[in-house]
Amino acid sequence: MNQLPQQLANGLILGALYGLVAIGYTMVYGIVQLINFAHGEIFMVGGFGALTAFLALPGGTTLWIAIPLMLVAGILVSVLVAIGAERFAYRPLRTAPRLAPLITAIGLSIALQQLVFSFYPDAKKARVFPQIPGSPFNIAGMTIQRSDLFLIVAAPVCMLALGWFVTKTRSGRAMQATSQDPDTAKLMGIDTDRIIVMAFAIGAAFAAVAAVAYGLRTGQIDWHMGFVLGLKAFTAAVLGGIGNIYGAMLGGLVLGLAEGLATAYIQHVPGMQLFGGGAWKDVWAFVLLIVVLLVRPQGLLGERVADRA
């Protein structure tokens, strides 16, 4: 039985999810050179925001209405948390040594996880997330869950919208300028504070979209889901070339594909029989990261970022 098409489809869907989250890392990093460790948690709270909206709707609301509302709520929560984090945790440290904001980000990540874990009702275990009911599609030997339709539509739409925003709008161009040279951008009259907030907000909104997709796909969300996914998304951002938004999506897709293929095929490699299957997929993703850093540290689409005089 040829399972290649199925693995490719799974990989691409998973990869699009990584890519959406990776954009948040890449945008923030591109502008303030900060790895926003808490981004995985911003993804997570977006999921809980969406879940809250779903709970607030009267039972039996059709998902055609529910999903857009959940999306709005998720984006709202994620963006508010991200802007709050930027304003109160990161901004005061902008001139501090690199270590300070990085440690703040770790603290923020732990605090957000624990806030949800301790206070969101019944969040100590995974909470059920609605799924799109109905039997899966079968196309050319690939089985695609109905819930994945959301992501298949949302990811390209998001990317196109972002591409349009960055290249065609005033704010988008200001953002590009700021990422190239914040000081000069400031001299040119660009309100860099606003741009930085915008980068955080856009990244958070994309993370919330990803969180809804994740919830629909897996049927549940939990307080811990941001950690590993955040790590993967960062890997995707590095893979694509950090600072490059298209690279982030490309990196996500490559990572998703690599994971899918590793899960299915590693065990057929002689001597590796025992290292296949889902249990090892995170390990292979990590190995991929290390290999990329060795071979092409600037990433697939990135420019050289090594420190130079």
Binding site: I110, F119, V283, P297
Partner: protein
């Protein structure tokens, strides 16, 4: 123009204030001998007249400290040495400590026993006395700013104060059968908490403006010329007091006492810092460094001899493991400036390596290395992983290292879980870990058995504590010697400016790899002992963030809380971070939350940590200090012609 003055906060005649403070302090100390409550239901038994118990000891110490400092401010011969600066702010701090501890105890009695009626007259005496001391101390001529502008938060935030209670009412009004109701209630409660936080922060700002406290640097009288042996004796005495204080902290049996202990320790040390005694002591320790190090380790080695059971030596052993690993991490983070977020994985590698060669029946490798062999295996295995992780990443910007090490920490755990024979080759028994690791036997000395030394029984944990202390001493030695050498200077140079460092002939990559590998092997070394101490190694001992140390986040926090680049900083930070979750059980559900918030606040308030490395302090406050750097405008007009 002077910006500082020496005036009282509460306008009292200086003489009256001082007498009031002295009398109040005496009464506070004396009140510890009275009965504060009628029932021994409150922990520590505060019912006995004539003998202090539990929290009363803290009140006694606070009162005595305040009294001593006050008497020193009179210039009393024999006590003047306690306050070389003659600053009265120290008295205020000590009095504050006394008042907080005493009132905290009284309120705790009231809350836990249900009402202030449970206080005996002695309790009221203590409360009034400590309050009078505080009032007296506020009337002393204190070092203050002449003016301090009032800071006011964004006024819009105060709208939360009336709005959030309404929201809360609305949320509780939602039909509780609807699934969203509990979420809304939680959100409204969160809003209430935030509003409370806004009020609290503003109140603290008001207090700060009212007190206007500061420190005025004064020339202090030169210290008495003492014979060298007396100075050495003083150092030893100071360390004995320190040992006693730390032992008291480790031995505290209930949360109230530990909280009071932390408050008193904090205010006490702050008071003695203001009085200048700490600076004197530090000067002495710098003068007699070898003696100091010896005294510190002797004091630490004395700990098991003060313990009658293994209950607290096991705590102390784990603190030592945690502290040693934190110190190893400090080489990587504090000296070389590399952020390692998966450091605990190197401890894990060492522990697993030691467990595999320990002769445990659960280990698939049926060998039993002697201790030195296991140590070398563990350290070498960690070093190999350190090089494997470091080599690809250390050529790049530091951020990559952070994320790769974070990933490595997670991958290590996953891999150890998967090497269980079902999802992968069998090496580690997966999530069950490797149990039944035999006790160490070093030159015929079985660390698992109780031995009697000087008539005192040293149990299993005491043995491991002493072994671990040797490991700690080794790491301290490596840290201090390497830190102050060609290699250490190169690390700091790389951290400061890598390009300039390379222009000095420093191979940046190689030295960073050296720091990373050294840090990894020291963690591996500690791991080998840890495997034997805990009998079992499991993957879940080595995570990024967990409620109990050691884990990567706590290790990093220990380094940062204590002070990067220092030796005593991580030791202190690790001790605090180990004891606080252990002792404050009421925090247990919110420990990690508190930890996360504490990290954020720490970075805002005191990024250089409790014990600041001079260099680090400068780095973190670069913006505050007017550096005499390039007059950039003239440089531009000339260079940029």
């Amino acid at each position: 123009m002077t910006t500082t003055e020496t005036t009282p906060v509460i306008p009292l005649p200086a003489g009256t204030a001082r007498i009031l403070t002295a009398v109040g302090a005496t009464a506070t100390a004396a009140s510890a001998f009275l009965a504060w409550t009628w029932t021994s239901d409150f922990p520590g038994d505060l019912t006995v007249t004539g003998y202090p118990g539990g929290l009363q000891w803290l009140t006694l110490v606070a009162g005595a400290l305040t009294l001593v400092l006050t008497l020193a401010s009179y210039g009393l011969r024999g006590l003047r040495w306690t306050s070389p600066t003659r600053s009265d702010n120290g008295i205020l701090l000590a009095a504050t400590g006394g008042a907080v501890v005493t009132w905290g105890t009284l309120i705790a009695i009231g809350v836990e026993l249900g009402g202030m009626a449970n206080l005996e007259p002695g309790g009221w005496v203590a409360g009034v006395a400590s309050a009078l001391t505080l009032i007296g101390a506020l009337g002393l001529p204190l070092d203050r700013h002449t003016r301090r502008p009032l800071q006011v938060l964004n006024k819009w935030w105060f709208t939360a104060v009336p709005v959030t209670p309404l929201l809360y009412l609305a949320a509780t009004g939602v039909d509780s059968s609807r699934p969203v109701a509990p979420v809304l209630v939680v959100l409204a409660q969160g809003g209430l908490a935030a509003a409370g936080g806004v009020v609290l922060v503003q109140a603290l700002m008001l207090l700060r403006t009212w007190l206007r406290l500061t420190t005025i640097e004064r020339r202090t009288a030169p210290p008495l010329e003492l014979p060298s042996w007396v100075e050495v004796l003083l150092i030893i005495a100071a360390f004995s007091v320190g040992l006693f204080a730390i032992t008291f902290g480790i031995d505290t049996e209930y949360g109230e006492l530990f909280t009071g202990y932390l408050v008193l320790a904090g205010t006490g040390v702050a008071a003695l810092t203001k009085s200048g005694l700490i600076a004197r002591l530090r000067a002495l320790t710098v003068k007699h460094r070898p003696v100091t190090t010896g005294a510190a380790f002797a004091a630490a080695a004395g700990f098991p001899f003060t313990q009658s059971s293994d209950q607290y030596t096991s705590v102390a052993t784990n603190i030592l493991i945690f502290a040693t690993v934190a110190l190893g991490l400090n080489i990587v983070v504090g000296l070389a400036g590399l952020l390692d977020l998966g450091y605990v994985a190197f401890l894990g590698v060492g522990a697993y390596a030691a467990a595999l060669v320990s002769g445990s029946p659960a280990s698939p490798i049926h060998v039993a290395f002697p201790f030195w062999g296991a140590v070398l295996t563990g350290a070498a295995a960690s070093m190999i992983f350190g090089v494997l992780i470091g080599a690809p990443t250390l050529r790049l910007r530091g951020d990559y290292l952070a994320i790769v090490t974070l990933g490595f920490g997670e991958i290590f755990r996953i891999t150890m879980n998967n090497l269980n024979g079902t999802t992968g080759p069998n090496l580690t028994n997966g999530s069950n870990g490797i149990p039944r690791i035999p006790d160490l036997n070093i030159f015929g000395f079985d660390l698992g058995k109780t031995h009697t030394v000087f008539g005192i029984d040293l149990g299993r944990f005491s043995n491991y504590y002493l072994l671990m202390l040797i490991v700690t001493a080794f790491v301290v030695l490596v840290f201090s010697r390497v830190g102050d050498s060609r290699i250490g200077r190169a690390w700091v140079a790389i951290r400061e400016d890598e390009t300039a460092a390379q222009a000095m002939g420093i191979n940046g990559f190689r030295l960073k790899l050296l720091a990373f590998a050294l840090g990894a092997s020291l963690a591996g070394l500690a791991g080998t002992v840890q495997a034997h101490v805990s009998y079992t190694v499991t993957p879940d001992q080595y995570t990024f963030a967990e409620a109990l140390p050691p884990n990567s986040a706590f290790l990093l926090a220990a380094v940062i809380l204590g002070g990067m680049g220092t030796i005593s900083g991580p030791l202190l930070g690790a001790t605090l971070l180990f004891l606080i979750p252990k002792k404050l059980e009421f925090l247990s559900n919110y420990q990690l939350l508190a930890f996360g918030i504490a990290l954020i606040v720490l970075m805002r308030v005191r990024p250089e940590g409790l014990i600041a490395n001079r260099r680090r302090q400068l780095e973190f406050h670069e913006a505050d200090i007017p550096a005499q750097a390039a007059p950039s405008d003239t440089a531009l007009t000339k260079a940029g012609a």
